[in-house]
Amino acid sequence: MKELLSGNEAVARGAYEAGVKLAASYPGTPSTEILETLATRYRSVYSQWSPNEKVAYEVGIGASLGGARALVTMKHVGLNVAADPFMTQAYTGVNGGFVVVSADDPEMHSSQNEQDNRFYARFAQVPMLEPSDSQESKDMLVAAYEVSETFDTPVMLRMTTRISHSKGIVELAEPTQGPEKKFVKNPAKYVMIPSNARMRHVALTERLERLRQYSEATPLNVVEKNGSKIGIITGGVAYQYVKEVAPDLDYFKIGMSFPMPLQRIAEFIKAHERVIVVEELEPFYEDQIKAVGYEVQGKAYFGHLGELSPERVARGLKEAGVLKTVPVAAIPAAQGMFPRPPVLCPGCPHRGAFMALKKLGVAVTGDIGCYTLGVLEPLNALDSCICMGASIGSAIGMEKVKGSEKGTVAVIGDSTFLHSGVTGLMDAVYNNSNVTVIILDNRATAMTGGQMHPATGKTLMGDDAGKVDIPTLARALGVKNIAQIDPYDYDSVLKTIKEQIAAPGPSVIITTRPCVLMPKRIMEEPYVVDLELCNGCSACFRISCPAIEASSQANEHGHPKAEIDSSLCTGCTLCSQICPTEAIMLKSQYVKG
């Protein structure tokens, strides 16, 4: 049985085939679809969204302790959040098999950095497998559980965006049950007080030696002989790019990339006149090979920034003298093209807050979500964005040093607030900060596609759930100034933000409109522009709504008047509220003259 699956879907299929009992995660591109696929297609695996990656990881640890095979998945920066349990679980080892999927994002298609998480495996001394396509994503996940249980260790499966989001043909296998195990008390192994942890560090070191031997023998690492004098050492998606442009060379394809099979690699190097290492991002393989005394080349030709691609690899191989010619583009690229960046949707409830913040000129510390788009032209209303939850802590620091005379406002979404904003708000109360925190509550983890979270009342698998009440939570933390506002009411948004900035102590403003796309697409009666009243002032253009377009008519200065695409307009009313000539009205109220 064959199916066309993305890498993420293949990991979900692998979890099903391996008899995984529990999967936990927090949504994050490019990892999100793994759990979404489990919850829709493979419901025999219990799967859940946790409030953040650290909790998800710990839920996975508990399931493993309880004897079940457990899967936790996250984007690369999610592992920063979960690094605390990850580093110490390396000491305790597992009971049921445990795999953490790290989905890295070279090129930062949808991320704030492109850290290379392969270093985490080496840092924690945890074995790591690196698939190079969808089939391997499935097969290596299954293999990872065997490694986990054989060596009593968590295992990292390291994906990248191109693996997670590319589809390929996958040969499926029948599901299995996985080993039947129960929890067995063993505090010396699982309670990491210093005396126990010292013993476990020894166990970790011994395990690593056994894993080195395994890596030398495992068929996960493949040598492909084609009789060339030049050898290529590669792994992950980079393998596919090199095979595309230089299929007939000899290859050492690394599937188990920590610990690396350095003896086999040494034999490969000795058997070739010259060896080139091709890997995406940092010189993870290259440095380890050089550290044991072998001369190889790599990053000098391919660089360490962004994604590789067939042409980038081909150019690098040409520079290295391996390829004589490289196919080049014959048709010239278009020059001076306009950009088409992602934008807030028509009717997005975040828009009103950013219009007001821009007008007020305050310092705005931002966070991770759709609302990060508030930084782009023409809204230009965000001054920082670092990581999940950073908006509140950053605002507290900025406010303490009085860095902004007009005041400091933190902007954070509901899912991000629950992920790691709550502790920041606690800090604001505890340390008497004058920050204003705007929680843009659209009742969804919207940027990743509208996933459920602890304040939505539904679980990943669709069951009813307990529901965090955000105003009650803020009050319980000790916030006294709490305002709830309708973000479609522009004057009230402006007035409330001003009042709360002026109020002493921390204040919280919560917006109350849901995401226009999730869970149901909202389409109220659209608005239209009366071109006789429109004077072409472009005030409505500056709110960056995709439904507002330039019409073919212009004012006396040649500036276009506006028109509204009624198939996109959701009827949010914001543009009509800021139109100085009252030219924007409900379609049903517009009477053609």
């Binding site: 064959k2 066309l4 591109t29 490019p30 679809e33 298609h109 949808s110 396509d133 965006t161 191109r162 989001h165 590319s166 589809k167 390929g168 043909i169 998606v237 596919q240 790019y241 095979k243 595309e244 299929p247 691609s309 067939p310 042409e311 081909a314 196919p327 080049v328 583009a329 014959a330 048709i331 010239p332 690229a333 278009a334 093209m337 306009f338 950009p339 088409r340 960046p341 992602p342 934008v343 807030l344 949707c345 759709c370 782009l376 032209e377 023409p378 940027m447 990743t448 596609g449 472009s538 253009f541 500056r542 960056s544 709504c545 995709p546 507002i548 377009e549 330039a550 276009p560 198939s567």
Partner: protein, 200 residues
């Protein structure tokens, strides 16, 4: 042996159905017995940004993305996006470009940027291997504006070695029951459009 490796780059704007189109092509290729990979980036691109999908078909496919400048077909759901992507095409390839125009808010709100007056004409200055498809007009005649992607698939099918039966079967499986007939009609209209029928 007839050619059986095809690199197809599909571009458009979030929400236009680029990913469904590449899904249909990939399923057809798989069912024909060939290897196929398709690659695209989700996430930020959903919010009205550029969406591109690479489909690679061969007896054995390695890279999930196309070598720059080597696409056999560039298929654009929007004419300015066609202009932006046409340099990915080999000189002997085919550009299938919907005449659709979608002007983004950033062009309207900022005087720094402008939308090309006639992107199809700009593409023709670079290559004569262009099929401009009046897809919105055809979709309007069929009574459903959301058929642009199926019409373009019909055009594309002339350049791929797959039987009509396979296309029909996959379209039936991938679209909602009540839209099957109109999608098959749209595919058929597209299939009548070929490079040699187009007046340059």
């Amino acid at each position: 042996m007839a050619k059986n490796n095809f690199d197809i780059l599909i571009v458009g704007v979030g929400g236009q159905g680029v990913l469904l189109a590449s899904e249909i092509i990939s399923e057809v290729a798989m069912k024909s017995g060939l290897d196929v990979k398709k690659s695209e980036v989700h996430g930020m691109s959903q919010r009205g940004g550029v969406v591109s999908s690479h489909v690679k078909i061969a007896s054995k496919v390695y890279s999930p993305t196309i070598h720059y400048g080597q696409a056999d077909v560039v298929m654009a759901f929007e004419q300015a996006e066609g202009l932006r992507a046409v340099d990915w095409m080999r000189p002997d390839g085919v550009a299938i470009v919907s005449e659709t125009t979608l002007v983004p808010a950033i062009v309207t709100s900022s005087r720094k940027f402008s939308y090309p007056d006639d992107a199809v004409a700009e593409i023709r200055k670079k290559t004569d291997r262009v099929i401009a498809v009046p897809a919105d007009k055809i979709a309007g005649e069929l009574g459903n504006p959301r058929l642009v992607n199926t019409i373009l698939l019909g055009v594309l099918s002339n350049y791929l070695p797959f039987d009509m039966d396979l296309w029909t079967a996959v379209i039936r499986a991938k679209v909602k029951a009540k839209f099957i007939d109109v999608n098959l009609a749209a595919f058929g209209r597209g299939r009548q459009i070929r490079l040699e029928n187009v007046e340059a």
